[in-house]
Symmetry: C2
Subunit: 456 residues, 2 copies
């Protein structure tokens, strides 16, 4: 085996923490996306920054690839090992290291999931807002610049990170920032690492901003006669500047999928899932403005969830939509698209996309964090049918090209991984050369998650 020397040294250094068992390697060779399983040669269950640094030094000496692994919820093949190597599983590094309630920040290990973190915070009157569909690890969310339903109010991971501890490709441990809310001290390495998808080093700790739980939260659903009316409502709400906290769009088929999977009983129509938060007075103002706008576009009355439990249930159902869609046709594979456009382009972009999907004849739901101009389609296809694969590829490429032409991006929150490397080149052009220069400077032997972000 190519990396036998490295594997022997890793085995000596880590004993039972290292495994080469096939089933474990296969679990680590694929996320939740449709990309093919590429298992690593071994998996290390790290329990400390020192573990990671030791492993990186051994791998670096033998030019053996290193792939960080959190919850395995990536949709873009980030965790796969196309060139073999060592998968470093960080899920056992899931401690809260320091909670500074007065400063509203927290220091965590990267393997903690978003739900575990919020569970830890629940008695503090504080919460961490970023909520991708899956219960991802914070480390993975930093590495992919993730967001979710709360981004319209709180921003994405990009806006929540104060500092990172990183093991660099040489096995050196650096700290990228401080606990200060702002700083102009040198290059912004924190944001260089946020979204670097494991290609520049491995995040082993992070300092995150927290937010006070609002005095009042109200959430509900609002049905529309068609997709266009719902989208136009979103655009007007955003332009009103009322500061809504979540505004999610589900198309008819998404609602059917949710009803089937989560045993809910929503009317089958294009629907906005809405949340208002703030002081009592602020929430009352937000609701009044939003109702008036929805009314202008023939929206039904907002059906409010009656209590926090019902609100939680509502958002849980929304977060399960990926699984709900897949349950529409068990056995089929799925691809999730992820474009994001300026809000003024959202109606055109979504409606043209819906037409393409309908023409294709494939089953596909359409949903999105539309307040940010970000939406997904989840397209089901038969992984053994060449014509369906070709159709899906054409649809996905078409969406990326359309979004880029409209001033948007091929990925709002899922990242590039091994699925969108060509799209990245379409979008960023020769700026990708600068990214490559940075990659080569920091990781000249290309041991850090090779085959991700960059083509070839």
């Amino acid at each position: 085996m190519e990396y036998q020397n490295a594997l022997s040294k890793l085995a000596s250094a880590f004993g039972d923490q290292l495994t080469t068992v096939k089933s474990v390697r296969e679990t680590h060779g694929q996320g939740e996306g449709h990309q093919k399983n590429c298992p690593p040669d071994a998996v290390l269950f790290a329990i400390s920054t020192e573990d990671v640094a030791t492993a990186v030094r051994i791998c670096a000496a033998h030019k053996m690839p290193i792939i960080p692994y959190g919850a395995g919820s990536s949709l873009e093949g980030h965790v796969s090992a196309p060139k073999g190597g060592l998968s470093i599983n960080l899920s056992k590094m899931n401690k809260v290291l320091a909670l500074n309630a007065l400063d509203m920040d927290v220091r965590i290990e990267p393997g903690i999931t978003r739900k575990q973190l919020n569970q830890h915070l629940r008695d503090q009157g504080l919460f961490f807002p970023v909520d991708p569909g899956a219960d991802a690890t914070i480390g993975g969310m930093v590495a992919t610049r993730a967001s979710g339903t709360n981004a319209v109010k709180y921003g994405t991971m990009r806006e929540q990170i104060l500092s990172l501890k990183v093991v660099t490709p040489t096995g050196t441990i650096i700290e990228t920032g401080t606990r200060a809310k702002k700083s102009a001290a040198g290059y912004d390495l924190t944001h260089l690492y946020c979204g670097s998808e494991g290609t520049l080093g491995i995040i082993t700790e992070a300092t995150l901003k927290l937010h006070p739980i609002p005095e009042k939260i109200a959430a509900g659903v609002c049905c529309f006669p068609d997709l266009e009316s719902a989208i136009n409502t979103v655009i007007s709400v955003m332009q009103s500047g009322i500061g809504i906290s979540r505004i999610e769009l589900l198309d008819v088929l998404s609602i059917k999928a949710v009803n089937g999977y989560s045993k809910t009983n929503h009317k089958e129509a294009a629907t906005l899932f809405l949340e208002f938060s703030g002081t009592n007075a602020a929430v009352a103002e937000q609701i009044e403005t939003c109702k008036a706008i929805a009314n202008d576009f023939n929206g039904a009355d907002i059906e409010f969830a009656e209590n926090q439990e019902a609100i939680n249930k509502l958002w849980h159902a929304r977060h399960q939509l990926y699984y709900a869609t897949r349950a529409l046709a068990p056995g089929k594979e799925s691809i999730t698209t992820d474009v994001c456009v300026p809000i003024s382009q959202l109606a055109d972009c979504m409606l043209e996309t819906r037409e393409d999907l309908t023409s294709s004849g494939l089953v596909a739901t359409m949903l999105g964090h539309v307040g940010d101009g970000n939406f997904h389609t989840i397209i089901l296809f038969d992984a053994d049918a060449a014509d369906e694969i070709a159709q899906v590829t054409e649809l996905s490429e078409g969406m990326a090209k359309r979004a880029i032409a409209m001033g948007g991006t091929c990925t709002g929150e899922h990242g590039i991984g091994c699925g969108k490397q060509t799209y990245l080149e379409w979008e960023r052009g020769n700026a990708v050369d600068i990214m490559r220069s940075v990659k080569t400077a920091l990781d000249p032997d290309n041991i850090m998650n090779p085959g991700k972000i960059f083509r070839g």
Copy 2:
């Protein structure tokens, strides 16, 4: 002259746009800080991205340094040319290229100043919030990751930039992002360039987020019996989560300076300058909460400005504080410190600093964007008196070390330039090596603003 060949080519290419007149070169050799004047060999008044790219290619071929110049308002020597070279003055590139009111974004050239931009926006119901003391150019503000009084509500330049056009050290033109509100497409070059102080390339266009002018704005001042009471009020206001839009602290001497320079009549006491904004209901709530907190710390009643003109006058006086302080002792030189700490450390940090200043016997004002934990001291000294220079150095170093020890940063918003390179090493340690690797990869001949950020 070392760069004679390059200068000849630049003269041929640019004619009257290039000058080597001594007085112009000297104007470009120093910002508003105390660092010594290092004039460039020539100054180019660029009027297009192509101008900049052409100049960079000529300079790169001769390894001639390039120093970008905007308004010259840097406090950390960013514009000086310690190794000679070409200063590229971007102030004639000050157009608004595209205003997308529906998307609340704007595309500008880098030489536009913050006041020029807001003048352009005034009929749109939108504004650009970042407001350093000086009327700096947006390009300079991007390059130094600037902020100001509004950062407590709106964030710093870091949070306002969607994309940048940059001329790289090889003269290539890249675009770092799109108009989408969020993206997970590859490395975050936008934020790598934001705060890079001209050392990685020259920004020639930028897409910025805009914000709706709030329905209601109220501003006023609140006096306290001592600095500690004022600081504790700030900490409590921030922890209340009421979402104040500005909260600025001025010590007694700052108020005296303002009164003298701006012909105001504020009571000579530690004072908070406050601004509340949002809907009418939200502002009423903010004021009520803030009054109650100030009252707990023996603050006087808030004296509100009566109308928008009075509000503008209030903030203009605050923005003039650098000049007001210098007017306390004409002929003296000044140094402006710029630490930022977690809010829980703010009282200790400011009170210990005040003690050091008082012990020194030097005249110094103390003021700050305290809602972010960021404060400045402006210390006046005799540039010909070795003992005063030594004192100022010791004070400045002591503040940086204290802030770093408290989990903060040596610069909240002014940048490193040529004044704080050692402080950067104290703060970021071996992470500076990673910054150097990035610098070397992108600019191997070190032609882009050499002598800034990095020591040696």
